[in-house]
């Protein structure tokens, strides 16, 4: 960790050295310019090693094992949970439920809390810029419960419009809203939404999949009722995510997935359930990846979440400046276009080059960006876009990556004979 902290001071090259994949070459011999961290982040050696160490040294099933490696695995697993609790400033570890990903965490709330609390005529409020994972579960819940969806509008820059919020909150039981837009990078005013929702008697689920990796998050300062994230977007492995929930809410919720580990006692006819957090963790957990996510959090804290935010803000400013030169050739950038109000995401289109073609051409230069609707089809419709090309940054990106992106865009312009 001290090494990471000093790497930041010493310049960014050392951070890159922590990520083995960034030393790889593509089949055309290009260095990897990875600008798709909003889809999934790369992993530092410490995270990969944590997985390997678990399987090589103390792989065992947890919680009920009497023997030495089972005890070690249980301790490491619960220690990782405690790290997440501290990272989010939760009141206690029992408020941290392991899931596969942010999507499953949202579904857990939709099925369990939603099934128990939403009824005919109730309102669920989401924003117009939600990822499908924070929209479709609520559509299905609305269908099951007879409740209705309403939408907090966004303007053409993808910024939340709060002037009608109080009216929208009427009859609303739950607000589900992203902390940061994965398509545009917009940072949403969560604390304000939460305060006004609470005043109207609604609880709030915050989709932190794009915020938790990139800035300090304090669930108690936000006063969020639920907060979800995916480890794979924040240096951790695939297959592990988190539902944070306030104890009072989680305690009152019925179980969702059931089976081994989440029970207290079982007879043929009925069961009683374990206490938090295990009540919601059925079957063998993703032990190795939970532990490795703990290592990812150590790494992030070693770097410092404030420092990550500052680094990405600076990179974003640098990128906006460099990309500005291409605007007269038809480059359009969506979203707030302001490093103070965006996380490290740039969504764009270049003249009449389709985002897919742009991504294919950049790929030949080793540059990885995402093209498409970014799992926000309704937002694309709202903004009248078919697809965008999205470049997204993380702590291991630097100016040379931005430079490569700009060079790549110029190559695309040449190939498409843009004037």
């Amino acid at each position: 960790m001290s090494r990471t902290a000093s790497a930041l001071v010493a310049g960014e090259r050392d951070v890159r050295a922590d990520f083995p994949i960034l030393g790889e070459r593509t089949s055309r011999g290009k260095r990897l310019v990875y600008l798709d961290s909003a889809a999934t982040s790369q992993k530092p050696t410490v995270v990969i090693d944590a997985i390997e160490r678990y399987y090589r040294e103390y792989n065992a099933n947890i919680h009920r094992g009497v023997y030495e490696i089972a005890a070690r695995a249980t301790d490491a697993f619960e220690e990782a949970r405690a790290k997440v609790a501290r990272f989010l400033n939760a009141a206690e570890s029992a408020e941290i439920i392991w899931t596969r990903n942010a999507t499953e965490a949202i579904n857990l709330v939709a099925w369990s809390w939603g099934g128990a609390n939403l009824h005919e005529g109730d309102v669920i409020l989401v924003s117009e810029l939600e990822h499908h994972s924070n929209l479709v579960p609520w559509q299905l819940l609305a269908e099951r419960s007879g409740s209705r969806l309403r939408f907090i509008p966004v303007n053409d820059r993808g910024e939340l419009q709060l002037d009608t919020l109080d009216a929208l909150l009427e009859g609303c039981k739950l607000v589900a809203i992203a902390h940061v837009s994965n398509t545009l990078g917009t940072i949403l005013p969560i604390a304000e939404v939460v305060a006004r929702a609470h005043a109207a008697g609604a609880i709030v689920l915050v989709d932190g999949a794009q915020a938790a990796p990139h800035m300090p998050v304090d669930v108690r300062a936000l006063d969020a009722d639920f907060y979800v994230l995916s480890a794979h977007k924040m240096l951790g492995p695939t297959g592990i995510g988190v539902l944070y929930g306030k104890r009072a809410l989680l305690d009152a919720m019925p179980p969702f997935l059931s089976g081994g580990d989440m029970i207290r006692s079982v007879s043929y006819e009925r069961s009683t359930f374990n206490e938090l957090p295990w009540k919601f963790e059925a079957g063998t957990s993703n032990i190795a990846d939970a532990i490795a996510f703990g290592s990812a959090i150590d790494y992030l804290e070693g770097y410092g979440m404030e420092n990550i935010r500052a680094h990405e803000r600076a990179l974003l400013a640098y990128a906006f400046e460099g990309l500005g030169a291409l605007e007269e050739r038809g480059l359009a950038i969506y979203g707030p276009h302001d490093p103070e109000r965006s996380s490290g995401v740039i969504s764009m289109n270049f003249a009449d080059i389709h985002a897919h073609d742009l991504a294919s051409i950049l790929d030949t230069e080793g540059i990885c960006i995402r093209a498409g609707h970014h799992c926000t089809m309704p937002l694309m419709g709202r903004l009248d876009l078919a697809a965008t090309a999205r470049a997204s940054f993380y702590l291991y990106n630097d100016r040379s990556d931005v430079d490569a992106l700009i060079t790549g865009l110029e190559k695309a312009a040449a190939i498409f004979r843009l004037s």
Partner: protein
């Protein structure tokens, strides 16, 4: 892939042939590439002997999907619906004349797949009449 975008491809992309709609199509199909969201629609008019008398496609998409569809449809005119149904991947690949990376193969084949759905719809209609 960068050598894919030659002049005739870009020309088909920017000036797609048979683009638009038919006033009274005999058969229509549309589909979507679920991975990217691109949509395509094909409309066919059939003459008395069951051959394609007119054809159009519409939708938004990348150069690969649009150019592939544009070139493919040019060859569909005058062909029987059965002939269209029997078309294979090669018919598209020969048109573009260059290897397509696996990630983009779905884009290239979108037009073919919708064309065949439309042909199928046309045959089903002919049968039921």
């Amino acid at each position: 892939m960068d050598d894919f975008y030659r002049d005739f491809i870009l020309d088909h992309y920017r000036n797609p042939r048979n683009f638009g709609h038919l006033p009274e199509p005999d058969a229509v199909a549309e589909d979507r590439n679920p991975l990217c969201g691109d949509e395509m629609r094909v409309e066919i008019a059939v003459d008395e002997s069951g051959n394609v008398s007119d054809i159009r496609f519409s939708g938004k998409g990348c150069a690969i999907s649009q150019a592939s569809a544009s070139m493919l449809l040019e060859q569909a005119r005058g062909k029987s619906l059965e002939h269209l149904l029997a078309l294979g991947k090669e018919s598209v690949l020969e048109n573009v004349g260059i290897d397509i990376s696996p990630t983009r193969m779905k884009c290239a084949m979108l037009g073919l797949s919708v064309l065949k759905s439309a042909a199928l719809a046309g045959l089903a209609k002919a049968e039921s009449e």
